[in-house]
Amino acid sequence: MIDLALRVRGIRKQYPKVLAVAGVDLEVRRGEVFGLLGPNGAGKTTTLEMIEGLTPADAGEIEILGLDWKHHGREIRSLIGVQLQSTSLFNKITPREALDLYGAYYPTRRSAQELLELVQLTDKADAYHTTLSGGQQQRLALALALVNDPELVFLDEPTTGLDPQARRSLWGVVRGMKAEGRTVILTTHYMEEAEALCDRLAIMDHGVILSEGSPTELIAQLGLPSIVELTFEGPAPDSVSFSAHLGLPVDARGERWEIPTADPKSALPAILGAAETCAVPFCQIHVRRATLEDVFLHRTGRSLRE
């Protein structure tokens, strides 16, 4: 039997006007880093907050570290660490005080000093929360999520608003947790981050999970491992007649066309031929490997940061 950190069956959440989560199943193994991807409004935060016990689910089952909310609410809360998408603390509390206070709520805890060093906030340790910058508040929220030395951590967009160095250091924290055998569930809008950190990913949109697997599996599932890109000077022209001539779908994206293909060797001459015939004024052509971003675009039909 596989040791599951999280097992979710058919959770749903209906808000007055939107079905935010329309039946989600998830299984996350212990020691895994699991990523939840999806465009804005896909239902990621709602899904996480139902699992964290903050938002009541309308239906479905949730089992965390073998425990269920109904009977083991306090134990679950003691074992998990949570970074909410936005963490609002009392205005005049300082990071050190917040870590000490929240730490006191748990049976096991890490020292405030150690956590402040971990998220590089020692020089702001005694400043009021309201005077911290957005990224510093975000780092404090991460430290708070780790204050109880949790078995399972939920990080909702942990790197949004962080500078590149702070982002790398968060990656280090996540990898460190994984090395210690802990489980991390995170959401992100950065594909390179998902690719770098996550063992497995789920892509969701409109409240449902569209596909799931390791980054390489997801790319392979797409069945189109290569992308031919034609770049233009200025906005890309209309691709309809070119696409008809070529007999392959073409995605116009800003200043380029993207043509996914399973076989770039034979596609390339055909593309060049069609471009010649249709007098396409492209300035560059190149072939690249499909990435998670392509998987995302195909599954959701939307760009991630739209």
């Binding site: 903050l54 809360r77 003691s78 998990i80 609002s88 009392f90 005049k92 509390i93 206070l101 709520y105």
Partner: protein
Amino acid sequence: MLLWRQFTMEWKLYLRDRGATFWTFAFPVIMLLGFGFIFRGGTGPATTLVWITRTAAAPSDQALEQALAQTPVKVLRLSPEEASARWAKGETAAQLESAPNGHHLRVNSYLMAQGQTAAQIVQQANLVAQAKAQGLNPELIPVSLESPGGRVAPNYAAFLLPGLLGLNLLSIGLFSVGMVNVAYREKGKFRRLGVTPLPKWIFLLGQVLQRLTVSLVQSIILLATGRFALGIHNQGSYPEFFLVVIIGTGAFMAMGFALSSLANTVEGYGAISNLVFFPMMLLSGVYFTLDAAPVWIQKAVMALPLSPYIKALRGIFNDGAHLSNYLPGLGLVLIWGILCFGIAVKRFRWT
């Protein structure tokens, strides 16, 4: 212990909000000093009578003037033009006009209570003047201002102090506790706590205890101000007085928490709390007695916590009565407090 941590942290954060802290303590003191100086004379509020002067004064005017000097009415002599200007502005409660064929009184319907009091006093003074003119010497029934417990207060503000304190604590409970909690919940300040194992009752009790100590400090400041600035003394025992303060404040805070669980927004809370606050304040017997109200209203009002609370505060403070006289009323307040706290814990939401 967790409750202690929660309590001390609440205090720390509270003191850091200097503006709010200052006003919490300064406001009741300013109110008390204001009333204390206005009513320094010892009696309650006096009313002013506008008397329109005529050029040729009749002898009966002089007699009336002498008689009025014996009453608490303050006479303001004005020319007909000045008087009609003042009347038009709505500042005159009662106005006396003397014509050769007699006097005429006008009472402002907007200031009915004051105007009628003034009018009655004028009528009485006029009867005295007439009696004297006929050679009689009318005798007035002596009146003294006393508290129900029989002690004479040196200052009208002494009667106000316990009521002021009681209402102030009620408004802390309903507005500063309940409203602040709804505002914080609306802003998502409790969400992060909702994913920790912190029990709701500890969070709530920590807040109640902190606000309770705030109100104790507030009462001490108010009592000290009354004593040293206005010479108002507590006639009863201090421990008993503070015990009543604690019971009442705790109950009203619990009520604030319970009400805050009914509202999702600050605006909604404003409506709900006014719906509770105004009837309770008006029906509590703090401003007028309810002898004229239907019996069922009087019975229902007996079950409200504000009136027994204020009665106990006044009884101890103004009359030096013992706590034991107020036990049933205070028991009622305590029951309200416990019920409300139960509802608050049960219905409390982090989000």
